[in-house]
Symmetry: C2
Subunit: 247 residues, 2 copies
DNA sequence: GGTTATCTTTGACTTAAGTCAACCGGGACT
DNA sequence: AGTCCCGGTTGACTTAAGTCAAAGATAACC
C-alpha cells in the first residue's frame, strides 16, 4: 500500500493508487451531486480529489477561513454550525454520507461563513475550487446538479428561519420528530441520531429547555421517551403542534 | 404601441415589439445574473422572457404555488416572506432592481417555499423554467453566475439564522443599521427604506419591541432617530453591540 | 381640507425560554 | 471498586420579548 500522508488542518490527506482511484470514481458516480456524469469527467474529478480523514471532534474549518474548495462526506457525520460571542452554538446542518458542504465559498465570498467539525471519525473528499470550477464550466449537467443541491439547501434554510422566528420550541421539536419519522423505516419509533444537547443546538435552544419540553410532550401523551428512543404516540396532535408552532 | 395585455396572477403581462425587446436585452445584459453573456444568448433569453407588472401590495406568488419559473426585479421592490399560522410574518428578503427571486423551484422542489408581494408598483421579468433550464445547459457561464447568486443567498440565510438564534433584538437591529450604513453614500445618516413595522418583521420581531429598542438605543446615545431617518452617533458601540448580540 | 385608515409609540401585564445551581446516572479510566 | 467526567434532568429564579390596549402621529384618500 503506497500511502502519502500529510498533516493539514488536522486532517490526514491520503494519496491513491490506481485501484483506490477506481473505487473513489465509482463512489463519486453514485453521489447525487455527480450522478449521471460521464466516466471521463469523473476521471478528471478523481484527479483533483483528495481523500481526507478527520477524527471525531476534529475541526474541519472555521468561519472566516479562506475556502479553497469544498467537501463531500464519505463516512461519518459532519456538523456545520455558528457560535455566538458568549459560546452558544446553533447548528446549521448535519451532513452524512454523500452530502456536500462548504460549497458557498467556491462560488461566492471566498471564505467559510460557518464552522465545521467531525461528529464521528470521518472520511471526506476534498475538491479544490479552481479545478472544480473548470470542471463545472466544461460540464453543464454538473452545474444543474449543483444548482439543485444549493436550491434544496436554500429551501431548508428558509424553513429554518421560519421555524426559529415563527415557532416556539415545542413546535420546532414536533416538526423535527416528524422529519425524522419521515426518513426512517419504522415510522413510529425514532432513534435520535444526535445527543440531546446537540439536538437542542439544532433546534436553536438549550439542553434544559429541550429536556423540559420532551417531558412535557410525554406527559401530554404525544410521545414516549426512553433514552435516545422516542416513540410517536399521537401523530395527529404532533402534526398539529408542528403546524401551529405553539403548545 | 402594440400591447397585448393578459390578466394573470394579478400581474399584467406585456408583449413586446422589436424596440422594447432591444431595451430589455440591454437591461438583462447589465444584470449581475446575465452580465457577460453573449448577445446571441441574451436574444434567446428575451424570446422567453415576459415583462409583468404588479401594483403595490399585489401578491406575486404564495408558498406552495407551483413554480413554473422565476423573476427578476426591473422596477420597485419585492418582499419575500413566511407567515405563521397565527399571522405573524417573517421577511426573508427584500429585493430591488436587478435582483432575482423565486429561483429555488426552478432547480429543486417545484413549488415556492415562501410568499412574495410587491412593496411598490413593480415591473418584473418572468423567466419560464423549461426554456431557462435549456439555456443554462447551453451556457455554462450562466450557470456559474447563478451558482454565485445562490451561494450568496445561502450566506445571507446563514447569517440570518445566526442572528435570529444567537442575537437579541438590539444586536440584530445594530447589525442591520450597520449593514444599511455600509451600502449608503452618507455613512452616518440612514434613511430606513422600510416602514418600521416591516423592519420589525425583517428582524424577526414586532413593531412594539422594535420601537422600544430604537428609543433605548437613542437614550443610550448610540443613535438619533427622526422619523425614518436614523443617525449613527456612536458607531464603535453599535459595532460592539452587533458583535456580542446583547445590550 | 378634512376624514380615515394605517403606522408608531407608550404603558401594564404575561409568558416562553434562558440562567444558575444542584443532582442523578452511566461510562471510562486508574 | 472507586473516582471522575459528561450528559441529562429538575427546580427556583430572571429576563427578553410578546400581548393587549390606548393614544398620538402620519400618510392616504375622497
Amino acid at each position: 500500500m503506497e500511502e502519502t500522508e500529510k498533516k493539514e488542518q488536522g486532517g490526514r490527506k491520503t494519496g491513491m493508487n490506481g485501484e483506490q482511484c477506481q473505487s473513489l470514481l465509482k463512489w463519486l458516480g453514485e453521489t447525487s451531486l455527480f450522478a449521471g456524469m460521464p466516466d471521463a469527467h469523473l476521471q478528471e474529478l478523481c484527479g483533483i480529489a483528495m481523500v481526507v480523514s478527520y477524527k471525531r471532534r476534529a475541526l474541519i474549518f472555521s468561519a472566516g477561513d479562506p475556502g479553497s474548495g469544498f467537501y463531500l462526506v464519505m463516512e461519518g457525520r459532519v456538523k456545520v454550525y455558528m457560535i455566538s460571542s458568549d459560546g452558544k452554538e446553533q447548528i446549521l446542518h448535519i451532513l452524512g454520507p454523500g452530502e456536500p458542504f462548504g460549497e458557498a465559498p467556491v462560488f461566492a465570498g471566498r471564505s467559510f461563513p460557518a464552522h465545521a467539525v467531525a461528529l464521528d471519525d470521518c472520511r471526506l473528499v476534498f475538491l479544490p475550487r479552481e479545478a472544480f470550477v473548470e470542471l463545472v464550466t466544461a460540464n453543464p449537467s454538473l452545474a444543474l446538479n449543483l444548482l439543485a443541491v444549493l436550491s434544496q439547501r436554500l429551501r431548508q434554510f428558509a424553513k429554518m428561519v421560519d421555524s426559529l422566528s415563527l415557532k416556539e420550541v415545542p413546535g420546532r421539536l414536533a416538526a423535527h420528530l416528524l422529519y425524522l419519522s419521515a426518513k426512517q423505516a419504522d415510522k413510529d419509533v425514532l432513534e435520535l441520531d444526535l445527543s440531546k444537547t446537540q439536538l437542542a443546538s439544532l433546534l436553536g435552544t438549550i439542553p434544559e429547555t429541550l429536556s423540559r419540553i420532551l417531558s412535557k410532550l410525554q406527559r401530554a401523551g404525544y410521545i414516549r421517551i426512553a433514552g435516545a428512543k422516542v416513540t410517536i404516540v399521537d401523530r395527529e396532535r404532533l402534526e398539529e403542534l408542528a403546524e401551529v408552532g405553539r403548545f
